[in-house]
Symmetry: C2
């Protein structure tokens, strides 16, 4: 019924709809800041993810500790170097809200290992997921205090390694079981007790799209923004809320407004696409990467500024 | 294996666990501010809900428009009067975020009818659920602006009827599809453009338990709090997120801290138990009311102050 033929035979993941634009080619300058967060192609090994990103013309990758550890840190460092990709961040440290002091000490030690890995991999930022309420606890105020204290203990260690801690405020959906830092404003209050080369914040559209005044708060964050991660808030929310992060354009997020605010704040780093979605994970990785590259150049990149 | 016999043979809804305390009897002074929100016993008609509340010794009920309209407003007014119960609030007006002006005018007219009903029923407050993003829209800032404008248009109408508008900030879980006002702080910013006898806020533990600094914000709200609604945030979140509101004590909410803050703010009104949960709805209404009365006197009432 269409008056003009489709531009491409490709279809988007996971919607199955025809692609609205051509997939950008390797060398396309619009890809210059696009990073594949490894979890978006969760079925891929580290080597496959590096190869897939390179094949699609992406210049950067956001790594996760588990697939790095699968091959061993030394091998991972070599694979990354051979790929020529930048590492935009390492996910993830944190999980430091335990009430038990021994558990918190163990979490701190684990975070030191994560910082060592980030430094070895050349990741400028270690993303910190604070953790939820300890089992059986209802003391959210206490958990938040312990999260801030844990950041304070890690900050000099991060600085010593040349890695910036990136506090990731998480959608309140996860406040009980994953992340007790719930707004960008709250994350910034914690970060500003430290210098910007020690502690910053992660701006993730899924987590923050609903926050009142968030565009102003982003603009005020300045050099505290150490990572910009994009994916969409989709409804109805999938039954497994950990797999609710959708492909950009499939949901309710205003990527133009968010991205322009991040650019106004002065952020010039990579933009990670981080999607957790059962159907995305079930798709061939190359199709997922092609879709996210299209959606990125359509919905995000035009607003990134210079 | 227990050293002492259980206090009661009753079991809680929906956990099936033995009741921890005896069910308070009719006339128990601890029930003096407990209100049954009608949706908690969704299977009950208006008459059944009134009878059930009276039988359990509750002095108040929170009404919903749909079951009121089922019997007709005049009959509902008579039934409520005959029951001797206070009406703690009427749910719900709002849904005024449409982009289309005609739709917004229709929403306004519908809200006038809701205000008339609230006045006729003796409800001091009409609870306002703002509504989500219009279909296909990603303009959350615009939707929030329209919500505030709609409140401004309704405020003099509410005052003329002796009903206070209660803006209900909703968990960000619902920001896209139900309520674009997401924090108590945001609701208070809207309310404070009006006098306290025109526009107030609803404090609902499910919606607000995660909000940073919420206890301080509650204390600062003073006479703006026109309704206090309790239920719990449970994990894992049920697949249907509209049915995720759990029985107090089954989840992560710190009712002592919340209730003490509401009391410190000076709130002396009724406390509505509003639960949306498939298994609660499937249970016999009387068992649900007995459970919520026990949980209320255990977890909420001790912190209400005088």
């Amino acid at each position: 019924m269409s008056a003009s033929p489709p531009l491409t035979r490709e279809v988007d993941v996971p919607s199955g709809a025809p692609a609205r634009i051509r997939t950008p080619s390797v060398g396309d300058p619009r890809l210059a800041r696009l990073s594949l967060n490894q979890r978006t192609t969760a079925e891929w090994s580290l080597r496959e993810a590096l190869d897939g990103a390179v094949a699609a013309g992406l210049p950067a990758i956001g790594l996760w500790r588990e697939p790095v550890q699968e091959v061993g840190l030394g091998t991972a460092v070599e694979l990354v170097r051979d790929s020529g990709l930048r590492v935009s961040s390492l996910c993830r440290g944190g999980f430091f809200t335990a009430e038990d002091e021994d558990q918190r000490r163990r979490a701190h030690d684990e975070n030191l290992r994560a910082l060592d890995e980030a430094a070895a991999l050349g990741a400028p930022t270690l993303v910190l997921v604070p953790g939820g309420l300890p089992a059986g606890s209802r003391d959210l105020v206490g958990a938040r205090t312990r999260a801030a204290e844990a950041v304070a203990r890690l900050a000099p260690e991060a600085r010593a390694r040349g890695v910036v801690l990136g506090i990731e405020p998480m959608n309140p959906l996860y406040a009980a079981d994953r992340g007790v830092v719930s707004t960008l404003a709250q994350a910034l209050r914690i970060a500003r007790d430290f210098s910007a080369d020690e502690v910053g914040v992660v701006v993730d559209t899924f987590h923050l799209w609903w926050e009142p005044e968030v565009l102003q708060t982003i603009r005020s964050a300045g050099d505290r923004i150490v990572s910009y991660q994009v994916c969409d808030w989709i409804t109805p929310l999938p039954a497994d809320t950990l797999l609710a992060r959708g492909m950009m354009g499939d949901g309710h997020v205003d990527f133009a407004a968010f991205t322009a605010a991040v650019a106004d704040a002065g952020y010039r780093g990579d933009v990670e696409v981080e999607i957790f979605h059962a159907e995305v994970w079930a798709a061939p990785g190359a199709d997922t990467v092609a879709t996210l590259a299209r959606r990125y150049v359509e919905l995000v990149e035009p607003w990134l500024g210079t």
